[in-house]
């Protein structure tokens, strides 16, 4: 059997082996926990760490007793507690800085034929409350949650299905779990490494008290009553929201765990004394003892950052804040850094191919119409006027940092050529009315495109103003309609919106192993073809079939290519598929990208170390700061004491 394996085996890092050999050697006890250990409230670090902890290649220049401190961050709402489980980025399998999969909570993992996944857990690893973390926690999720008719009301979660079929889950040992599908599951590891992972395990020892199978019925009924829930499943659901991170009692594997009962204006996260990573010297991570998240009005956050009230802040800072924060650097004691954005484009127009209006629908489904709209936009002017000339004008495609980048694509149909654009529109037979120079739709209406925004970004509205002038020269009027995020999405799905503006590709740095879902119809949430996406998502139950019209042939090809991508696990073929999909997307201009490469502004306290000078700030993949491992950030010696006082 072993011979059949096209197995890929991830060996632990060399440094880890070195430590493992010297294991038994003292691991560094974090100074903040020393007192609790001496008092006997907490076992010493060697008993808290797994037998073989994950050794991170980081080091702090401070002696152990001067590490620690409080990292201050600012959030916009109490729901931002979830950012800590994103930043913490302890995953079964995570991404490294080059977006390759590396074991993290799992000590190692094996993939066979792209369909059998075996994870080896770290023996002796513990939850933040000291209970052992074992295969039982995986079994609990798989048997008692994913297959429980009351918790999984609508069947096994879609993330675990391949072509509708669930995996076979086995537990070959107390620290080994295996997921086996009949067909390859190319997205499985990505769901584990995601910013918001699909977690395969749960703290079973904690959740069992809320589970019908395990809890005493009377006690459970009292609990359900006391918490005001409908039934035990709802109570279980409430207690088990690791992503939202709003239950201080829920054990975690993240570096910091919530210590404040929400809601509060200032949420505290204290170190997880059982965290499974150590630094190069064998000192337990994280270096920083406490993280605080102060909740403030989102509009005040840049001002608070300028005042030095945050040690590490990226959320709620936008590019227009750059000059303001730069001026405040010395006063606030921080440095403003510009991190690359991981999005394919910063501002992108989405013509809605599923718009209800038949005249417009025919037009936006025509590639030449979309190309004309794109060619008429003077992207250089927009870049200079709004982004201080620091952005990169061009269409919506992957970023140069991705291996799939094709240098031709950003400029395809994205140069400034109003004459060509006018010619394209003339060819489509769109006559100009002599009175005010507006073109007419075939049914005699004047061409006015209403672009809807979610009303959250000033930049978008500013960009639209400039596009308005460009399109006016084409004989098309542009009107801006600001709404609210929910309304915005609902109108698009209903086909009431002709065109919308949003950011470009969420993942601008894909690898061949990334699902090209964003380029093809795949979900009902896609702004350019919500009904086609819904059709694919629901397997034909809802939405609208793409149909056989000539104009949509490339779209059918995109859908077919994605299907082919799903079926293969050959990287060369996947890269080829990606290349073709990117080219079709750029050539068909399904989305009209305006500018890319608008950096994310990051404020980093002068005393904070190990934060990269320049990184990629992206949610998926990347988990914002996650792939740079904030547990390895540390404060200047002495500054940590100061920060503690200030914090």
């Amino acid at each position: 059997m072993a011979l059949l394996w096209t197995a890929i085996l991830w060996a632990p890092a060399l440094a880890e082996q070195a430590i493992a050999e010297t294991s038994g050697a003292a691991f560094g006890e974090p100074a903040a926990l020393q007192a609790a250990v001496s008092a006997g409230d907490l076992p010493p670090v060697s008993q808290r760490l797994p037998e073989r902890p994950l050794v991170m290649p980081v080091d702090a220049a401070c002696p152990a007793d001067r590490l620690g401190g409080t990292l201050r961050m600012i959030g916009g709402s109490a729901k931002d507690t979830r950012t800590l489980s994103v930043f913490g980025y302890a995953r079964l399998v995570g991404y490294d800085e080059n977006y390759a999969f590396v074991p993290d909570i799992a000590e190692r993992f094996e993939v066979e034929e792209g369909r059998i996944f075996t994870f080896h857990l770290r023996p002796g690893m513990k939850w933040s409350d000291g209970a052992p973390f074992t295969a039982e926690d995986f079994r609990y999720f798989w048997e008692d949650m994913a297959q429980n008719p009351q918790i999984a009301r609508f069947g096994i979660p879609g993330e675990l299905l391949v072509e509708g079929k669930p995996p076979r889950v086995t537990f070959p040992g107390p620290d080994v779990v295996r997921y086996e599908w009949a067909k390859p599951n190319p997205n499985f590891l990505a769901t584990q490494a995601a910013a918001l992972p699909f977690e395969l395990y749960r703290p079973s020892h904690y959740l069992k008290q809320f589970h019908e199978t395990y809890a005493d019925p009377d006690e459970l009924a009292t609990l359900v009553e006391a918490e005001g829930q409908r039934n035990w499943a709802a109570l279980h659901f409430k207690m088990d929201r690791g992503h939202r991170n709003d239950n201080p009692d829920l054990p975690t594997l993240q570096p910091w765990k919530l210590a404040t009962e929400p809601p509060s204006e200032r949420l505290m996260f204290t170190r997880n004394p059982y965290f499974h990573r150590v630094d190069a010297q064998g000192r337990q991570l994280p270096y920083i003892d406490t993280v605080t998240l102060t909740i403030a009005n989102a509009d005040l956050i840049p001002a608070k950052v300028a005042n030095g009230e945050a040690d590490l802040q990226a959320a709620y800072l936008s590019f227009p804040n750059y000059p303001f924060l730069k001026r405040a650097e010395a006063r606030g004691g921080f440095e403003v850094r510009r991190w690359e954005s991981g999005r394919g484009s910063h501002v992108t127009l989405y013509p809605n191919l599923n718009v209800k209006d038949p005249a417009w629908r025919r037009l936006v489904q025509d590639a030449n119409f979309r190309r004309a709209l794109s060619l008429a936009i003077n992207r250089d002017d927009i870049n200079k006027a709004i982004f201080y000339g620091l952005a990169v004008p061009g269409g919506n495609t992957v970023l140069p940092r991705s291996t799939l980048f094709d240098p031709e694509l950003p400029t395809m149909w994205a140069g400034y050529d109003p004459d060509a654009a006018n010619a394209l529109l003339d060819e489509l037979g769109l006559e100009r009315e002599s009175r005010n120079g507006l073109r007419l739709l075939p049914d005699g209406r004047q061409m006015r495109i209403v672009v809807e925004t979610a009303g959250e970004s000033r930049e978008q509205s500013d960009v639209l103003q400039l596009i308005h002038d460009d399109w006016r020269r084409l004989g098309i009027d542009l009107l801006i309609r600001e709404s609210q995020r929910e309304v915005f999405r609902n109108r698009i799905k209903a086909g009431s919106t002709l065109m919308s503006v949003w950011t470009g590709l969420d993942n601008g740095v894909p690898t061949p192993a990334t699902d090209p879902a964003e380029l093809a119809p795949s979900t009902a949430e896609q702004l350019q073809w919500p009904s086609f996406g819904m059709q694919i998502e629901t397997g034909g139950e809802g939405g609208e079939a793409i149909g056989g019209s000539e104009a949509l042939a490339p779209l059918r090809e995109l859908a077919a290519l994605r299907k082919r991508w799903m079926r293969t696990d050959d990287d060369a073929e996947r890269a080829d598929i990606w290349g073709r999909m990117l080219r079709i997307s750029a050539d068909q201009v399904y989305t009209i990208g305006i500018v890319a490469g608008v950096d994310q502004i990051i404020a980093v306290a002068d005393t904070l170390n190990n934060v990269p000078k320049r990184g990629v700030y992206n949610y998926e993949p990347g988990a914002y700061f996650g792939i740079y491992h904030p547990d390895g950030f540390w404060f200047d010696c002495g500054a940590s004491a100061l920060a503690g006082k200030h914090g």
Binding site: P157, A195, L196, S264, T294, E486, A524
Partner: protein
């Protein structure tokens, strides 16, 4: 009198019931429900939300039931003192509102005291010194306060407080004191933050009250009984305080009705702008996210306070001003 009171109580109950229907309907009016806003939000973070998951969540939150049923559940809960459950905070509404109540009360009571302390002397002064330079000057200041948009003033004062005194921006205390036990230091921090919102929220109220007191007092000052009192040789301050001022106070008691809910809800916009830990911003965000039980219960609570406040002020007026007779038709 007792019949009058009983009648008033019945009317109050009907009013509240009507308000509860209105509140519920208005919260439901925008398209979608809490779940659509929740989904839009997680979706914006780059998450995929499958159709199954939406159905699951809708059921978990009880949003799959028809509207009237949701309304009935809510209202029967309210009558038993159960304010319902907040989707957004994942906690009972009472806990969330309760947590923010003390600071809200502090802020708004401080504001009311500020308004009275400033408005009374100035109002009396400008009435007794009508058309003097002092009257014109103070009235001018008052109009300025009335006319300046509050949020603008708030931002300017926040900036100045930060630059001059190093006060942290926004909030009611330095971040490090939040959730810390009360201490002298913490109280000092609260005081150093409190004056900005008190001043901002108070300006408009002060100006309004100044003008009203001045107008009322001017009416009274020319009455014959005042002339009589003067003729009897009463000292000026006694003339003023004993009779006309007391007469001029009626509108302030009538104001009690609107004062009560104000003390609890505070100035929503200012609190949101300055990110104060009061109930105002919470109300705003719950309305935005259609967290209907939180928003609904909160609005109902305010409605209750308004109704009770009106009731109390009517009764007080009747007691304080013997000229007012309740419930009796005039004898012809």
């Amino acid at each position: 009198m007792i019949r009058y009171l009983a009648g008033r109580l019945v009317t109050m109950a009907w009013t509240l019931l009507a308000i509860s229907v209105l509140v519920f309907v208005i919260i439901q009016l925008p398209p979608g429900d809490y779940l659509t806003s929740y989904i839009a939000e997680i979706r914006a973070q780059g998450e995929n939300v499958t159709v199954d998951k939406i159905a699951f969540l809708r059921e978990q939150y009880g949003l799959d039931k028809p509207l009237w049923e949701q309304y009935l559940v809510w209202v029967t809960g309210l009558m038993q003192g159960d304010l319902g459950y907040s989707f957004e905070y994942n906690q009972p509404v009472a806990d969330i509102v309760g947590e923010r109540m003390p600071l809200t009360l502090l802020l708004n009571v401080a504001t009311v005291i500020f308004v009275y302390l400033v408005a009374f002397p100035i109002g009396i002064y400008s009435a007794t010194h009508q058309y003097s330079w002092g009257d014109h000057g103070l009235s001018f200041l008052g109009f300025l306060g009335l006319a300046t948009p509050n949020f603008l003033l708030a931002l300017i004062l926040l900036y100045l407080a930060n630059v001059w005194f190093g006060t942290s921006i926004g909030g009611l205390m330095d971040p490090r004191f939040i959730d810390a036990p009360w201490s002298l230091e913490k109280a000092a921090s609260v005081l150093s933050h409190l004056w900005v919102p008190v001043l901002v929220i108070g300006t408009a109220g002060t100006a309004g009250m100044m003008r009203r007191l001045r107008a009322n007092l001017l009416d009274e000052l020319n009455r014959q009984y005042v002339v009589t009192a003067r003729a009897k040789g009463l000292p000026e301050h006694r003339v003023l305080l004993k009779y006309p001022l007391r007469m001029a106070l009626n509108p302030f008691i009538a104001d009690l009705g609107s004062l009560l809910p104000q003390i609890v809800s505070g100035s929503v916009i200012i609190s949101a702008v300055m990110s104060l830990p009061t109930t105002g911003p919470m109300l705003l965000s719950s309305l935005r996210s259609q967290d209907m039980f939180l928003a609904g219960s909160f609005l109902m609570f305010l409605a209750l306070l308004t109704v009770v406040g009106m009731f109390v002020s009517d009764v007080l007026l009747a007691i304080l001003d013997p000229r007012i007779r309740l419930g009796k038709t005039t004898i012809r």
